[in-house]
């Protein structure tokens, strides 16, 4: 004999002590699937038979069951379960998690149970206990079905049990994960047959009249690309041709060209056809009237068809869920009365509005599930995505449109209603005063739960990344106090690791190590770009304000933004910001950027100079302060030592030499920081050097190589050379020594002229080596520049020796994690995901930035 149980169910083994429940459980179920009350007793009291521990043991048992059910795991309860009350608790637990309860009853003769218990030295309770349990069990038999068990199996002898061949786990009816579409999902039809036909034709379905085989009503619908229709329910009521719609849908479902989930109107019709006393309101009267023309046989057919409909479907490997009124994440792919009623009616608050209709709770605003949910039920003027859900009931019967969502294309296809068939009880959701889309409006406010605490962020490039709580704490403060409107903040740049420490005596960093990093990892082609010394800037620039509104959901904040690597506004002065962004926008426009890249916006990664423009405070409080204090003190020291030197005291000349060298170092230090400072008097004193075109509409440009980036950026730069600066670069072949030495020579020239150094990148934006993702870039800084990082006297032999002892692994790990998160944020933005998903990534970068890493690297 074969036992069949739903693959997600709560199985109660029911039977007296000694009836063989544990043996049964261990034979047919996996180790972790069985939760035993005896074992729980043991865990909480060290004694599996300690009856005094029953309370605690069952608390634990219930807790484990709840966790398992929440995680969608079949669970078997190994306890006597002979009392109705104890079963009730478990059934309620199953319901809470929308899983189906199953009963397997082992009703073995008393003798068998007693014999078994006698053989065990840890069980010494008398026969009366078993007798009592047997009696309780007997009393239970009749009521099991009513208690709510979906399946009940009963075995009364060892022989019967021996006949069980296997326990088969059946998929739930709603599980259609193996169907991958493509689908055309159609919203509430309500008897609008003509519009349905028009829509199907528009979707390229071939509708043919064929002979009626008793199942197809003479209709045959096919699609040349084998697309499938999904009807979201509410086929009937209110409209003119409900029977025709039913015939069409039934025929399509039966031929396999369509799936159908039930709507509340369909269910009501089914009840009516079942002979239940149903009020003929909300359009049912019309349907019943239309059905009068139809045969009894047809009505019976309809009744059966409607009865057979499954509340919702999970499709395409769990990536898509469809239900008439929507479905919450925790209900998807589960079964219970609650799930069914949610799918039919959605969530209501219990209140009634001024039109006498139930007040609906917008469950979609809290939806966080992975599956996209397509639903109908509530007529809306326009189908719009919100948190991966979309309501496509555009109120055809009320004179709106009949809408289909093409999946996976996510295209909306609609046909206009031929007339107003029914006046809505209340006007279709009134247009709000805001110009924002639902998603953008919803995104106006982020939820703190999406950023605080320990977080794990899934990224495409590096799988799961952990953000520690202490880092979230730091990031929350910075984000909330200083960062720009999160809707602008689609990206934060990663930190960049320096190259390995040079082995050459006078260098801390040298191109050799930078090139070697990639060479050793079998990257043949690399790019060296001049590293500008300014401040990192990310720019988001839109073609016009309309784009800002539509794509970013921002109103009255200009045509773009320029922000720092910690998400702060780059410019403190609004006027300058506006002027700067408008210059950038003009350059993009005049270089035909929008047309060339088929976009209305762009996100650029850049360096904005001079350094002194943004780092004024740092320069004044640190660099110039060190410079002036050291220079003035050392001048005095030199004089005093020179004076002392005349006195011929041993050791003074040596000291003089030492301090003269200090003095020279500080002069170089001052020269070094001055290289990156100039006064900004007009907008043209700023110089912007972009180096990545990060993203445009529909694309994150990490699939392009750096030559593409540099050349495309050059076009923008040439459009306004007064504020843009073209970044010089070289492509280097790591297999060619000559090519390598040309890079070194170039770096030497750049840094001798006071340049910061260069950045070395693999030719492709994203490169992998044996150890996985490679550093997207390593920097190689010039010797004089390093003075402002490591201190004026860093290059004395004794200092150099100590400073060379530096570890890069932490910095490199950080750089990779931030890179992965940054790109993830952009990809999510480009996929038009809800803001919280983008913010999560960006917040992650900021949080990681608060990790302690040597800031000199």
């Amino acid at each position: 004999m074969e036992i069949k149980i739903p693959e997600l169910s709560l199985v109660l083994l029911i039977g007296a002590s000694g009836s063989g429940k544990s043996t049964f459980a261990n034979k047919y179920f996996k180790r972790h699937e069985v939760v035993s009350s005896d074992i729980c007793r043991g865990i909480v009291s060290n004694d599996e038979n300690n009856q005094a521990a029953t309370g605690d043991a069952f608390d634990l048992l219930n807790f484990i069951i709840a966790k398992r059910l929440k995680n969608r795991l079949l669970t078997v309860v190994d306890a006597t379960n002979v009392q109705k009350e104890s079963r009730n608790k478990l059934i309620n637990l199953a319901r809470e998690y929308h899983t189906l309860p199953v009963a397997i009853v082992l009703d073995l003769p008393q003798r068998v149970c007693e014999d078994r218990n006698d053989k065990r030295d840890d069980r010494n309770f008398g026969g009366h206990v078993i007798r009592q349990q047997k009696q309780q069990l007997k009393r239970s038999f009749k009521g099991l079905k009513r208690e709510g068990f979906r399946k009940i199996y009963k075995f009364s002898s060892e022989e019967e049990i021996a006949e069980i061949t296997q326990i088969t786990r059946e998929k739930l009816y709603n599980d259609k994960k193996d169907l991958h579409g493509p689908f055309d999902i159609i919203g509430d039809i309500h008897g609008c047959y003509d519009e349905t036909i028009e829509l199907l034709e528009k979707l390229n379905y071939q509708i043919a009249s064929v002979s009626d085989n008793g199942k197809n009503y003479g209709i045959d619908v096919t699609h040349p690309e084998n697309r499938q229709v999904i009807f979201l329910g509410d086929l009937v009521d209110r409209g003119p041709k409900s029977p025709e719609v039913l015939k069409l849908a039934m025929s399509m479902v039966r031929s396999g060209v369509a799936l159908c989930v039930p709507g509340n109107h369909d269910l009501k019709l089914q009840k009516k056809l079942n002979g239940k006393n149903v009020q003929l309101k909300h359009g049912l009267a019309e349907t019943m009237g239309q059905l009068e023309q139809e045969s009894e046989e047809f009505k019976e057919d309809v009744r059966e068809f409607l009865y057979s409909l499954i509340s919702h479907y999970i499709l395409d490997n769990g990536k898509l869920a469809v239900a008439h009124a929507g479905i919450k994440e925790e209900m998807q792919g589960r079964g219970s009365g609650t799930v069914r009623s949610f799918c039919l009616y959605g969530e209501t608050t219990g209140e009634i509005d001024e039109f006498g209709l139930p007040v609906r709770y917008n469950w979609a605003s809290e939806y966080r599930g992975k599956a996209k949910v397509v639903y109908g039920h509530t007529p809306v003027p326009k189908a719009e995505w919100l948190n991966k859900t979309i309501d496509i009931d555009t109120g055809c019967v009320f004179g709106g449109e009949l809408t289909a969502l093409r999946y996976p294309e996510e295209e909306l296809v609609s046909v206009q209603a031929k007339k107003v068939y029914c006046k809505p009880a209340k006007p279709l959701q009134t247009e709000s005063d805001s110009n924002l889309s639902h998603q953008h409006k919803y995104d106006d406010l982020l939820n703190i739960n999406d950023v605080i605490g320990k977080r794990i962020v899934q990224t495409r490039l590096r799988n799961n990344l952990t953000i520690r709580e202490e880092n979230s704490i730091a990031a929350l403060e910075v984000m909330s106090r200083f960062a720009i409107n999160p809707k602008w903040l689609v990206y934060l740049p990663p930190t960049m690791s320096p190259c390995g420490t040079s082995e050459l005596p006078n260098y801390l960093e040298h191109p050799q190590q930078a090139i070697n990093y990639y060479k050793k990892r079998n990257i043949e082609k690399i790019v060296c770009e001049e590293k500008h010394m300014g401040s990192r800037a990310v720019l988001v620039v839109c073609k016009d304000e309309q784009t800002v509104l539509e794509r970013f959901g921002i109103e009255k904040e200009g045509i773009g933004i320029c922000y720092t690597r910690t998400g702060r506004n780059f410019f403190n002065d609004e006027k300058i910001e506006k002027e700067f962004l408008s210059r950038t926008q003009k350059a993009l426009t005049s270089s035909n950027f929008w047309e060339k890249h088929k976009t209305n916006w762009v996100c650029l990664d850049a360096e904005l100079m001079p350094w002194s423009a943004k780092a004024q405070a740092l320069l004044k409080e640190q660099y110039a302060a060190v410079g002036t204090s050291a220079k003035n003190a050392l001048t005095e020291v030199e004089q005093v030592l020179q004076q002392t030197s005349k006195r011929n005291i041993e050791g003074i000349d040596e000291l003089l030499k030492k301090y003269s060298n200090k003095r020279k170092s500080i002069d170089k230090f001052i020269d070094s920081y001055r290289n990156y400072c100039w006064n900004v008097e007009s907008i043209e004193d700023f110089k912007l050097a972009p180096f990545h075109i990060l993203a445009t509409e529909g694309q994150v440009h990490t699939d392009k190589n750096h030559e593409w980036h540099m050349e495309n950026i050059k076009e923008i730069c040439l459009a306004d050379e007064k504020i843009f600066r073209v970044t010089p670069y070289k492509i280097i072949d790591t297999q060619n020594e000559e090519s390598i030495s040309s890079a070194t020579q170039w770096w030497t020239e750049l840094t001798e002229k006071g340049g910061e150094g260069m950045v070395v990148k693999p030719f492709d934006f994203i490169s992998y080596g044996k150890e996985g993702l490679l550093q997207p870039a390593v920097k190689c800084r010039g010797s004089e520049y390093l003075r402002i990082i490591y201190g004026a006297e860093y290059d004395t032999p004794e200092n150099m020796e100590r400073l060379k002892n530096r570890g890069l692994s932490k910095k490199r790990s950080l750089a990779l994690r931030e890179f992965a998160l940054g790109i993830e944020g952009l990809e999510r933005f480009v996929r038009k995901e809800p803001l919280r998903r983008i913010h999560e990534s960006v917040f992650g970068v900021l949080a990681l930035e608060s990790e302690e890493v040597d800031p000199r690297l």
Binding site: L446, V451, E636, Y659, I788, N799
Partner: protein, 465 residues
């Protein structure tokens, strides 16, 4: 970095005896993070000069003591002025190099110790943040020094950057050597206002020991103590109390009560008192202080039985830590503790934890947010958290003209993003009330000026009609 002491006292070479350092030699003493060199640039009958030259190893400095200046894990730790200036390192060098002289001992010529001699001191260079030349004079002149200072420009190539906080200072005075050394020992770090080591309890002892005989009568005593102990309030208060122990009690009381009186009447106290009053009037039992900072209002509320449930939220984790310290959180009785809940949060994110309160206090918070973030703030507080009452305060920008030290067009606090006029505030608050079904009333905080109003302003919101 460099300190020279010159004397023209009749037997100038006696300085060598007094300092216990041979004028013909270069001596080098090890310090924790480097060395100090002692030598005599000049030693003649007419004039003798001794020089103290610091030789600080900046790399060692970072390795040894980390994260002292509160700058966190930043570059400032690695590239800074410490090796080049006179700071607490100089005090340590002084006490190491000249400990006998500082203690007023001289084996060979004990009579010299108590003789006042003409001294000239030159310090290259001395930082004097938040005080500058005026402060240098205020610290040295009362002790009889004539002071000469030269202020250094930040960078002559960038004149617009202005002057630095560094000075080359020359002092001259007729004074006992041991006093001179003690003065320098205390006043150099006080001017510098930074410490290279952790300031702890025994710092007070050092200060009192070195300040014996002159600090208690110094008119800038309080400031010296505060700056020497780098503004650690409780430590400086303790030091002040201990310093006053020798003086008649009347004076102390007068001084303390004066201080307290001043503090009590500060605007902030007034504001908090008024906020507390409004919260009490609202009849609230369950209250939340949004932006509680170090918890002044929370401590006030704790004393009121009416508030059964007091919650504090702040964006700054370090402020919350301070708040817990001030509340003596760890030792608090369980019953008291039950009444309080503290957590980090931000008013720009929707937050379930903020729901269900009778009243919320939002004291001097909104002006720290960019104006374009206020809509989020409004929704978080008034649309979602929805406390029955909200007491909200913000500065009245009109009143700024009354502050003499405030330049026109600038704000009271560097982090203020705006300071609204009464009209602006009222417009905003009325709109917020209208949007969210609240009623609102306004109240000034502090003395009301006929023209510009009170220094601060308050809106009291009540939910429903």
């Amino acid at each position: 970095m460099l300190l020279t002491i010159t004397t023209t006292y009749k037997n100038t070479t006696d300085l060598g005896f007094l300092l216990h350092k041979h004028p013909g030699k270069l001596q080098t003493i090890d310090l924790a993070v480097g060395k100090v060199h002692i030598f005599y640039p000049e030693s003649s009958e007419e004039k003798t000069t001794v020089a103290l030259l610091l030789d600080i190893d900046s790399i060692d400095m970072v390795r040894g003591v980390r994260n002292l200046s509160g700058k966190g894990f930043s570059l400032g730790q690695y590239v800074n002025d410490r090796p080049y200036v006179a700071s607490s390192f100089m005090s340590v060098a002084l006490s190491k190099a000249f400990s006998t002289a500082m203690n007023g001992k001289c084996k060979n010529k004990p009579d010299l110790v108590d003789i006042k001699m003409p001294f000239e001191v030159k310090i290259s260079v001395l930082p004097a943040p938040k005080g500058g030349e005026l402060l240098i004079r205020k610290l040295f002149e009362p002790l009889g020094y004539s002071v000469n200072v030269e202020r250094h420009q930040l960078d002559e190539k960038f004149e617009s950057w202005g002057d630095s906080m560094y000075y080359t200072v020359s002092l001259s005075n007729e004074v006992k050597l041991k006093d001179l050394l003690s003065h320098l020992y205390v006043l150099i770090p006080a001017l510098d206002n930074d410490k290279h080591y952790f300031v702890s309890q025994n710092e007070i002892d050092k200060l009192l020991e070195k300040g014996k005989g002159w600090l208690e009568n110094h008119p800038e005593k309080e400031q010296i103590i505060k700056r020497y102990l780098i503004n650690l309030n409780s430590l400086s208060r303790q030091a002040l109390e201990r310093l006053n122990e020798g003086i008649e009690t009347e004076d102390i009381e007068d001084e303390i009560s004066q201080e307290i009186k001043e503090k009590k009447e500060t605007l902030h106290q007034q504001r908090l008192k008024l906020v507390l009053e409004k919260l009490k009037e609202s009849g609230a039992n369950k209250v939340i202080d949004l932006g509680c900072g170090e918890g002044k209002l929370i401590r006030m509320m704790l004393k009121e039985k009416q508030f059964h449930n007091i919650t504090g939220m702040d964006i700054s984790y370090s402020e919350l830590t301070k708040c817990k310290e001030r509340l003596h959180w760890d030792e608090m009785a369980p019953r008291q503790k039950e009444r309080i809940d503290l957590f980090q949060g931000a008013l720009t994110y929707k937050d379930k934890r903020l729901e269900g309160f009778d009243a919320a206090a939002i004291v001097e918070v909104i002006e720290h947010m960019d104006e374009n973030r206020l809509k989020s703030f409004e929704r978080v507080v008034f649309e979602f958290a929805k406390p029955k009452n909200v007491v909200l305060t913000t500065p009245n920008g009109e009143y700024n003209v009354m502050y003499e030290n405030l330049d026109a067009g600038t704000m009271r606090h560097i982090d203020h993003r705006f300071e609204w006029t009464r009209k602006e505030f009222e417009n905003w608050a009325n709109q917020v009330a209208e949007n969210n079904n609240y009623t609102v009333q306004f109240s000034p905080i502090g003395e009301v000026d006929e023209k510009v109003g009170a220094p601060s302003q308050m809106a009291i919101f009540e939910y429903g009609n």
